[in-house]
């Protein structure tokens, strides 16, 4: 009996519901079909303002890229007016409006960074894929400056809210790493999925005991997302599922 994981069909259903709710909340999630008929992933792009430490032009020879070792002071650039006004490279107008409406989130997002860092507008792209190996969803993401430069792992780490950074760095398996996107084949960052079932177990057990249906993907995203700048509005919880009876049946334990 395995309440803390999710089978692929359950994943698809949770995602479909999430997209429906996202549409009514104008939260920007879409479902991207993969090459197979059932395969696919959730996708969302946002603009975020973040204070982060730029990496220098070249990698120092032989140095480890440990997150806590920020290298020489980055180029401090003033965020120009054109940065803020320019539309994102591949985002559409709706994403832009959505991000600007999230004014309340920006204070949470700007982290206390060393003096040489600068405040930049960054474009984040989030994908949620299903991992067959771990039977859980996985959060992949990448980040760019508005000029289209990819952020390095160091820079991504410098944007993780300080209260999460220490905990993530302690546990090597729960960390942010760069890997190849399973469907697109391109480099993405991800939050490692091997502890997701532990994370979800208390929530899913409680829901089962209370005979309450919980959208695994929404709940999981609300916990993991903030680590990497992705917020899930509380309104998702307020919206009830379209077909509670069908979804109650989904909560059959997956094959152990």
């Amino acid at each position: 009996m395995s309440w803390s994981v999710l089978d692929e069909e359950g994943f698809s259903r949770c995602c479909r519901l999430l997209v429906q709710q996202s549409q009514s909340l104008r939260d920007g999630w879409s479902w991207e079909p993969g090459q197979g008929s059932a395969e696919g992933y959730l996708r969302k792009t946002t603009l975020r303002t973040a204070a982060f430490t730029s990496r220098p032009e070249r990698e120092p020879e032989g140095s480890g890229a440990a997150p806590e070792q920020h290298t020489a002071p980055g180029r401090a650039e003033e965020p120009s007016q054109s940065d803020l006004a320019a539309p994102a490279a591949s985002g559409d107008a709706d994403d832009l409006t959505g991000a600007e409406d999230d004014g309340a989130d920006e204070d949470d997002w700007v982290c206390r960074a060393p003096a040489e860092s600068s405040s930049r507008v960054l474009q984040y792209e989030y994908h949620v894929l299903y991992s067959c190996s771990y039977s859980v969803p996985v959060l992949y993401f990448r980040a760019f400056t508005l000029e289209g430069r990819s952020l390095s792992l160091d820079e991504v780490w410098s944007c993780v809210p300080p209260q999460y950074r220490a905990r993530l760095q302690q546990s090597p398996w729960n960390t942010i790493t760069q890997q190849e996107h399973p469907l697109l084949g391109q480099p993405f960052f991800l939050v490692h999925p091997c502890r997701t079932d532990e994370l979800m177990r208390p929530v899913m057990q409680a829901a089962q005991q209370q005979l309450r249906w919980v959208n695994y993907v929404v709940t999981w995203l609300s916990m993991v997302g903030p680590l990497v700048g992705l917020e899930m509005p509380l309104s998702y919880a307020a919206l009830s599922p379209q077909s509670p009876t069908a979804t109650a049946a989904e909560q059959e334990p997956s094959e152990a």
Partner: protein, 223 residues
């Protein structure tokens, strides 16, 4: 397992003779000679090419040197694939030595993962091992192993020590018959599309212990 030891040794000690040539656009103080190396099939490019880097650095200025990356006939080589896989995918039908081009600038951000240190390779390798064990043993064996055991597994690969590696890896290869064996057998299928042919060559690597062990079966399917 004892009968298979010869096969395991043959796989572990597989080598590919390789010629590394500096790309013509790289700025050098004098002409760069090519560098020859026998690459272990079961290892990773960035783990075994320190000598290549040192060789070319001798003819370059420090300010012209950024992260080293490799390319074969215009295709950036993904260091996070085992060397044997890269060779089979890209160059198995060509004559040896395998000719790889070396770059120190214009890192292809959209194609390649960064590899600033060996700890990144270690993390990637251990991540694959862990994922395989999730499939084989629901992660029980890998989680029961101590940190020093994980370290020994990695050091065995890094230092090309078959016995040191397999002392740990055999635990991951045990399948308790009372529980019906492995839950699932991990496979990793690498696909390459050759536009000129109607067949798609699919290389299936049976991951005995998950990369680096590659028993190559080539299947030609008409799709």
């Amino acid at each position: 397992m004892a009968d298979d030891k010869d096969v395991l040794r043959d796989v572990w000690f597989g080598r590919i003779p390789t010629c590394f040539t500096l790309h013509q656009d790289e700025v050098t103080e004098r002409e760069a000679e090519p560098f020859y190396l026998l690459l272990p099939r079961v290892s990773y490019l960035t783990l075994v090419t320190d000598k290549v880097k040192k060789h070319f650095l001798k003819v370059m200025k420090a300010e012209d040197v950024e992260e080293m990356w490799f390319e074969y006939e215009g295709t950036p080589l993904k260091w996070h694939y085992p060397i044997g896989v890269l060779f089979d995918l890209h160059a198995s039908n060509t004559a040896l030595p395998w000719s790889i081009t070396v770059h120190f600038k214009d890192f292809p951000e959209r194609d390649l993962l960064h590899c600033p240190s060996n700890s990144v390779i270690e993390a990637h390798f251990m991540s694959s091992i862990k994922e395989a064990d999730a499939l084989k043993h629901k992660s029980q064996v890998i989680n029961d192993m101590q940190k020093k055991d994980h370290k020994q597994l990695w050091m065995g690969l890094q230092n090309d020590k078959f016995d040191q590696f397999w002392a740990m890896n055999r635990k991951l290869m045990e399948y308790p018959t009372e529980e019906g064996g492995f839950r699932y057998i991990p496979f990793r299928i690498y696909q390459v599309h050759t536009h000129t042919h109607t067949h798609t060559h699919i290389y299936i690597y049976i991951l005995a212990g998950v990369s680096p062990f590659l028993l190559t079966l080539t299947l030609t399917l008409t799709l």
